[in-house]
Amino acid sequence: MDERKVLERLKNGDEVAFREFFEYYYARIFNYAYRRIKMKDIAEDITSETFLKFIKSLPSFELRDGYHIDTWLYAIERNLVRDWFRRNLGKETLDLEEKFDKYYEPILSDPYETFANEYINKLVSEALNLLPEQYKEIIKLRFYERKSIKEIADILNKTEDATKVLQYRALKRLKEIIEEMINE
């Protein structure tokens, strides 16, 4: 894609160029938001908002030598993601995410590859194996088998309240283990 030509056509209001531009970037933008936030609706909103902000900035946008359109797009998107975290979880970046960033390239030659990041998968599965059996079981039932708390309570022969406590503690312990592994 010749970025300068596309940009010129976009500035002239060419809708065919807009479709091409959207097709080229949509999956990358969506995947980045989804990888960070893991909620489909919010990832869609952020994707949409990224395009809208880019469109609004088009009249004044100039592509300097050595820069690419995606540099600008991802800058917009990263800010939107940070805003979302700040508004909803009270911090711009989560702790583990910051630490993982040291180990892989978060932006974004191919987000699908980033998604399947072997490092994170390996680390999580190693950490899971270090959990006490009861914690490991509840995490597998809840996250991999997608069972409800009630179903898990029946399987583990516990009350729902006790199962919720167990779930919380299992996640907390898993976080501690992952942090220990990263800090080693």
Partner: protein, 144 residues
């Protein structure tokens, strides 16, 4: 239900919505809850088919793209109207004297605009004469 039970219950409500791909309300989360929730984010599926919602997002973005383009066109037309006003001395002599052409155009009242324009033409003998004088060079038979 004790405070601790409420806390775990609240956490599970958020987690349950999160896992069902609904949007949770995080307002009751403490910073410790956020730390623990980060693990849930890590454990949830990593991929999702982006095509599922592509058209919906495209239409929204396209509409904004058109809107921006429309704003630009509207700006150009508005500038032309201002030039027109200056050239032909639009000192209002009609019922809409408190409005300029530009303001009427921006108000999106097409009928009002047409009425104002025709009243303006009627009220300006010199403009009528100017148009009349253009007949020969433009090859019109008559503007009557």
């Amino acid at each position: 239900m004790s405070n601790m039970d409420e806390k775990f219950d609240e956490f599970d409500k958020v987690l349950d919505k999160f896992l069902k791909d609904e949007t949770p309300d995080f307002s009751k989360f403490t910073s410790q809850d956020v730390d623990v929730f980060e693990i849930a984010m890590l454990l949830k599926e990593k991929k999702r088919n982006p095509q599922e919602s592509k058209e919906k997002v495209f239409l929204k973005a396209l509409s904004s793209f058109r809107e921006e383009k429309g704003k630009e066109n509207s700006y150009i037309l508005s500038m032309l109207l201002k030039i027109f006003e200056v050239l032909f001395d639009v000192s209002p002599l009609n019922n809409f004297e408190h409005l300029t052409f530009d303001q009427v155009y921006k108000s999106n009242e097409k009928t009002l605009y047409q009425v104002k324009f025709s009243l303006y033409l009627q009220s300006r003998q010199f403009l009528y004469n100017n148009i009349w004088s253009l007949q020969l060079p433009l090859g019109f038979e008559s503007l009557h």
